[in-house]
């Protein structure tokens, strides 16, 4: 084993280390800072893959920070599901960063780039930590790092819309973490532990004596993670924040950051709370109906938007609903679908935001109406948009179909065909707002009247990778689904 057994800690250490180094490198050795960040992200991705191999060979294992076992030390747990989440975070953020290196040059002031790299590495490092940690207080600290760096990569653009949006985001996510910490206090009061497994062991005895603490904690957790993951009535910060941010930040926030909180809520439900207790409170039912409302309203709000990025942001509210739908249906097949959607949506929504970024880079257009005929000047970009939109709608051959298929199967499995209708209806609504853009972009008769700058090859290559990935996960979902089924089988 040797060094390989320290990989869970090293992934986070490398990312936090590069966050510290980036501004220094940018100040004194400007050419090295971007390659250093890319190297750090690739290195952590390789370590993530090694972790996957380790879990595949040796099963779930624990990593004790500094050699201190719980309840004294912080513990990291490495199992299939966490490694899956870790790989999604690392792979997608590496991919977005390759795109961002070109795009940021025109969106940010030059002297800010080093700081952006720093914040980006902090964000990725904290999310990798959230995916792996097995300790409630550690989760709280990582969530706060994630919240601040997520707000900061919006406000770094320093125009008025960004500042206002990131302040709104900051206040609401501070409310979320406040609620989370209160929930942790409720659990700590009765169990005296922070480690997930130890809390899980201590809860059944504690709940007999103090049942209200468990109710309070679980509802506080729903509010906390719901706010951060934009679960329907708590989504108000998302459209402004994701639409006004620089395009790579939008891709990161919409693609990965909201998912990690959905994942954290899932871990709370299935690893922290003991199963019989979870069955005694209708937590899944609450999440189920909120996500259903989110799926419908997110799509309906998206239809009336005039700004392309705002439309994509509202669409995210609908799409995160699918992940929560998987949690709400509380069924192995539906959960597989939900987690598959987490990966596919991370890919397609990041790609769509990148497309929006390319369009803004090249022509400066944000309004959907002005996009008519854009396919003539940016054909490859709009093909990427078409593939992303097709996956959103769930057309066969794209990843979106597989996840919706599994969610629908799961809904039938638990005997609730109503949610199949919801999935179908929302697919139709997606088609209603994505199709006109595609049709207008390619079928427009007159020539495109706006000027278009040539797009750097690096940006187009990332889009092509995105297209290939979305199609790959639509055509060959087998290995990922097997991984997810194994992962979820461990929880039931």
């Amino acid at each position: 084993m040797g060094l390989a057994q320290h990989f869970p800690a090293l992934i986070i250490a490398i990312l936090l280390g590069i966050a510290f180094l980036s501004p220094i490198l940018y100040r004194w050795a400007r050419k090295t800072s971007a390659p250093a960040l890319i190297t750090a992200l690739s290195l952590s991705l390789v370590m993530g893959i090694v972790l996957l191999i380790q879990v595949h060979q040796g099963g779930t294992f624990y990593y004790h920070m500094g050699g201190w076992p719980p309840p004294f030390g912080v513990e990291f747990k490495v199992d299939f599901l966490r490694v899956y989440m870790l790989l999604v975070v690392l792979a997608v953020s590496l991919w977005i960063m390759v795109y961002a290196l070109k795009d940021l040059e025109h969106e940010l002031k030059t002297e800010m780039l080093g700081w952006y790299y720093s914040l980006y590495a902090l964000l990725v490092g904290s999310m990798a930590g959230i995916a792996l940690t097995n300790d409630l207080f550690n989760l709280f600290v990582l969530m706060e790092i994630c919240a601040i760096s997520a707000c900061a990569i919006i406000s770094i653009k320093e125009d008025r819309a960004c500042l206002e949006a990131s302040f709104k985001y900051l206040i609401l996510s501070a409310m979320g973490t406040g609620c989370f910490l209160l929930g942790v206090a409720m659990l700590y009061m009765v169990t005296g532990q922070f480690n997930y497994d130890l809390v899980n062991e201590a809860l059944p005895a504690a709940v007999e004596q103090y049942p209200n603490n468990m109710f309070a904690a679980s509802s506080l957790f729903i509010v906390a993670f719901g706010t951060k993951a934009a679960l329907f009535p708590l989504h108000v910060w998302l459209p402004d924040a994701h639409a006004s941010a620089p395009s790579p930040s939008s891709a990161m926030l919409s693609g990965v950051v909201i998912k990690i909180y959905a994942f954290a809520l899932f871990i709370m439900f299935y690893q922290l709370f003991p199963r019989p207790l979870l069955d005694s409170i209708p937590l899944n039912e609450i999440v189920l109906w909120l996500s259903t409302a989110g799926i419908m309203f997110g799509s309906i709000f998206a239809m009336v938007q005039v700004d392309l990025k705002k439309m994509l942001a509202y669409s995210s509210i609908g799409q995160i609903g699918y992940v929560f739908l998987g949690i709400g249906l509380d069924d192995t097949i539906a959960l597989t679908g939900g987690f598959y959607h987490l990966l596919v949506h991370a890919l397609m929504k990041s790609m769509l935001f990148m497309v929006a970024g390319v369009i803004i880079y090249s022509t400066g257009i944000r309004q959907i109406k002005q996009l008519a005929g854009v396919g003539q000047v940016l054909p490859l970009t709009m093909i990427a948009f078409t593939v992303g939109a097709a996956s959103m709608i769930g057309i066969p051959g794209t990843g979106g179909l597989i996840s919706k298929w599994y969610l629908a199967l799961g809904a039938l499995e638990v005997g609730r065909p109503f949610f199949v209708v919801i999935i179908l209806a929302s697919s139709l609504l997606n088609a209603v707002y994505y199709m006109p853009i595609i049709v207008n972009a390619f079928m427009h008769q007159e020539t495109f009247e706006h000027e278009a700058k040539p797009v750097p090859r690096q940006m187009l290559v990332t889009l092509v990778i995105g297209v290939l990935a979305v199609i790959f996960f639509g055509v060959a979902p087998g290995p990922t689904l097997t991984l997810l089924e194994n992962a979820i089988a461990l929880l039931f």
């Binding site: 601040i148 008025r160 206002e164 990131s166 302040f167 501070a174 406040g178 910490l181 209160l182 206090a185």
Partner: protein, 122 residues
């Protein structure tokens, strides 16, 4: 009556929750941005108080081992964790205040309703 005695006995929990609700309400309803940040701090502090209260035992002493003496200790873990919590709260406050400074430069006001008015007129 029994419930009331329970509540009175645990008055510090009640105080913490009351502060939390005050903080949350002010944070979500007040339009002044500075007041929102103050309310955020009240909310965070209430949770810190709750944690410290959880760790306290009546007549407890600081957890330092003294040879040959049986002493009741207070639980040091919540207090030490709350130090981390305070650091986190401070960093969020600093960031929020710096955002407010920038917002004030662009809009000339720290009132959220007025900012919305200015934005709607654009």
């Amino acid at each position: 009556m029994e419930m009331l005695i329970k509540v009175l006995h645990n008055y510090y929990y009640m105080a913490a929750i009351l502060l939390f609700v005050i903080g949350m309400h002010t944070m979500l309803t007040h339009s002044n941005l500075i007041k929102k940040v103050i309310a955020m701090n009240i909310m965070d502090t209430s949770v810190f108080l709750l944690f410290v209260a959880v760790g306290y035992t009546y007549g407890g002493q600081a957890p330092i081992v003294q040879q040959g003496k049986e002493v009741i200790y207070i639980n040091p873990l919540p207090s030490s964790l709350m130090l981390t919590g305070i650091v986190v709260a401070i960093s969020i406050t600093a960031y929020a205040l710096s955002l407010i400074v920038k917002i004030y430069r662009y809009y000339g006001t720290v009132d959220y309703d007025e900012i919305c008015l200015i934005r709607s007129q654009e």
